[in-house]
């Protein structure tokens, strides 16, 4: 078939492909993939989206995409792009509707052997006590001032209310609070859509998962983080719920108008944006930070609900459970960060859409406990195979603005997943692999079945081999609640 694309992918090495700068591209595109993953990536439009992002005003370095990349809307999922503070832009589509959708991992003092015979009761108890599923409500009903407090304080709000420990905060990206949140930028509609959603999981690919550490790759780092073979872990994936969706929606509409007024040329209107120095950009960043703080609080509350559920179901004390947060990372966010571009340190607005920050050892933003190891990088896989914990490492050449992948990345559409699983009982198939599952949505298990995702092993190997982060441990799931 004749290639009708306005660019040609060129292989740089085993794990990197470049879209060379041409036409009105301001930077080249850079895709982290090997020859095995590339056909899946080329099957959808995600390389086109990298090409489109490379045209945005003020972009620096590369429009980068990680090996879990797949077709999103506007920016690709698994994409990273950074913009100059003087002439660059911010784009709500480069963050996504689910602002600060992210993942956290907690360790426990329990062993797999202790939990495995009680896993069904435990997952049933999560399912009963943690609101999940479509438009899940029934969380904490917030009055407007309470929601503003959540939006200002983030995870600290939940801890103030007794849902966690003060020491959790240093184990959350940005200590669980983006301090530039501006409640003046929160609309009545965002309040209405978020007021009853705090402490809810959501639907689709959001989950709560019990797993155990199956393999250790880096003994030293694992030891410093308290990760020991066979120990039970808790992983939570959720975001800012309706509050964040509404904020993205409103600012996207404003920025669609803005690009016309500012005469910004876009290859896709979903890339609508505003110059970072403009009022609308400042207001978006203030509202986005408020939504990010809501998400940090949400995951803190969900972890607390899961902790209570584990203590009650397993009839153990907090001392026996010994739940400890390892880390909490954002997947969908725009933040001002300092990075080296051509040997010069510059403040940039880094967009991560389906990507994880991966700070190296010694980085100024890391707390003492991660100074020697680098930041924990949490990579959830699919619900049947495995997840990984990696660590940020020093890079000779940083082409992704200290970012790594955020998961395995979808390879099948929801429709295709439904077609491939017709007549199959995914819950039973998972049970055959010693994984007990519950889902709120009738079709969720089939849409989210393991093979709907890329093989996490291949994705993580590329991240490891390309020097974006290094493997620390692999976690096997034994029980999951899907939204």
């Amino acid at each position: 078939m004749k290639n009708t694309k306005p660019y040609k992918l060129k292989q740089l090495d085993e794990n990197r492909w470049i879209i060379p700068k041409s036409g009105k591209m301001r930077v080249p595109g850079l895709i982290f993939a090997n020859k095995k993953l590339l056909p899946d990536i080329e099957k959808d439009s995600s390389p086109d989206q990298v090409f489109n992002v490379a045209h945005l005003p003020g972009i620096v370095g590369y429009a980068a995409a990680l090996p879990d990349m797949h077709w999103g809307y506007g920016f690709p999922i698994g994409g990273v792009a950074a913009f100059d503070m003087e002439d660059g832009i911010v784009s709500p589509g480069g963050v996504g509707y689910d602002i600060n959708c992210g993942v956290r991992l907690a360790t426990t003092g329990l062993t797999r052997d202790f939990v495995k015979n009680q896993i069904s009761s435990l997952i049933d108890s999560f399912y009963a006590s943690i609101p999940s599923g479509l438009g899940s409500r029934g969380g904490i009903l917030l009055k407007k001032n309470d929601l503003f407090d959540v939006a200002r304080l983030g995870a600290a709000w939940a801890i103030k209310k007794g849902m966690g420990d003060e020491s959790d905060l240093e184990r959350i990206e940005d200590h669980g609070t983006l301090d530039w949140a501006d409640i003046k930028c929160i609309s009545d509609r965002a309040y209405e859509r978020g007021k009853d959603q705090l402490g809810t999981l959501g639907s689709g690919n959001h989950f709560i998962e019990i797993g155990y550490i199956e393999k250790i790759f880096d003994e030293s780092v694992a030891d410093q983080w308290g990760l020991r073979q066979g120990l039970v872990t808790l992983m939570i994936h959720s975001g800012s719920r309706g509050f964040g969706y509404q904020i993205c929606d409103e600012f996207l509409a404003r920025m669609v108008k803005n690009v016309t007024q500012q005469k910004i040329e876009l290859l896709d209107r979903q890339l609508a944006c505003a110059y970072l120095k403009s009022d609308v950009a400042r207001e978006y960043l203030g509202a986005m930070a408020a939504a990010a703080n809501f998400a940090f609080a949400n995951r803190q509350i969900l972890m607390n609900l899961a902790r209570i559920s584990m203590e009650n179901t397993l009839r153990i004390s907090p001392r026996e459970l010994r739940m400890k947060l390892l880390y909490d990372v954002s997947h969908n966010i725009a933040k001002m960060e300092r990075h080296d571009i051509d040997g010069i340190s510059r403040m940039l607005c880094v967009h991560r859409k389906g990507a994880t920050r991966a700070l190296p050892p010694g980085h100024a933003l890391l707390p003492g406990l991660f100074k020697n190891t680098g930041q924990p990088v949490l990579i959830p896989g699919d619900m049947g195979r495995a997840s990984y914990v990696m660590s940020g490492i020093k890079r000779e050449l940083d082409q992704t603005f200290a970012s790594a992948c955020h998961g395995a990345g979808r390879v099948l559409s929801r429709n295709e997943a439904l077609r491939k699983t017709k007549g199959r009982a995914i819950e039973r198939e998972l049970q055959d692999r010693d994984i007990y599952s519950r889902a709120a949505g009738r079709k969720t298990m089939r849409e989210e079945f393991p093979e709907a995702y890329k093989n996490i092993e291949e994705v993580v190997d590329i991240v490891h081999d390309a020097g974006l982060a290094k493997k620390v441990v692999r976690i096997k799931p034994i029980g999951v609640v899907k939204g």
Partner: protein
């Protein structure tokens, strides 16, 4: 499946939901887009009464009008749990369409998907002799 003779169809998209919509007139086109959206949002409670409301949607082009209309309905569903079943466009003036919308109480169905937003990704409303067509992506 092809769109021919259908109001709307679902197309494959790896992460989100993509639909193709057709309508002989712009009003019918928007009506069919609403049907597609409603399919994912929830189901009408048929024993409940209809209610009629006048709204105004702004947009400088068909794409903006379509997206702004659907955004409004997504908000309405998740905050008031009602689905719009009919629209009647009354006037278009200064890039604003005045319309009457008929809605009914609704609930999420077992096949529903949480629609986070209505995107502009790749959206281009095409007009030809058979009417209006577009592909639309919902973030789910």
């Amino acid at each position: 499946m092809e769109l021919k003779d259908k109001e709307w169809i679902i197309l494959d998209h790896p992460a989100d939901v993509m639909v193709e919509i057709h309508g002989k007139t712009f009003e019918e086109f928007c009506q069919n887009a609403i049907k597609a959206l409603n399919h994912f949002l929830g189901r009408v409670l048929s024993d409940k009464k209809e209610s009629t409301q006048k709204i105004e949607i702004e947009g400088t082009c068909p794409e903006e009008l379509l997206v702004n209309l659907l955004r409004e309905l997504v908000y309405k569903f998740y905050t008031s749990y009602c689905l719009v079943t009919k629209i009647k466009m009354r006037s278009l003036k200064n890039n604003k369409v005045r319309m009457e919308i008929v809605s009914r109480s609704a609930t999420v169905g077992s096949d529903s998907i949480e629609v986070k937003g209505v995107t502009y990704h790749g959206l281009s409303v095409q007009e030809n002799e058979s009417g209006y067509h577009a592909r639309l992506v919902f973030d789910v």
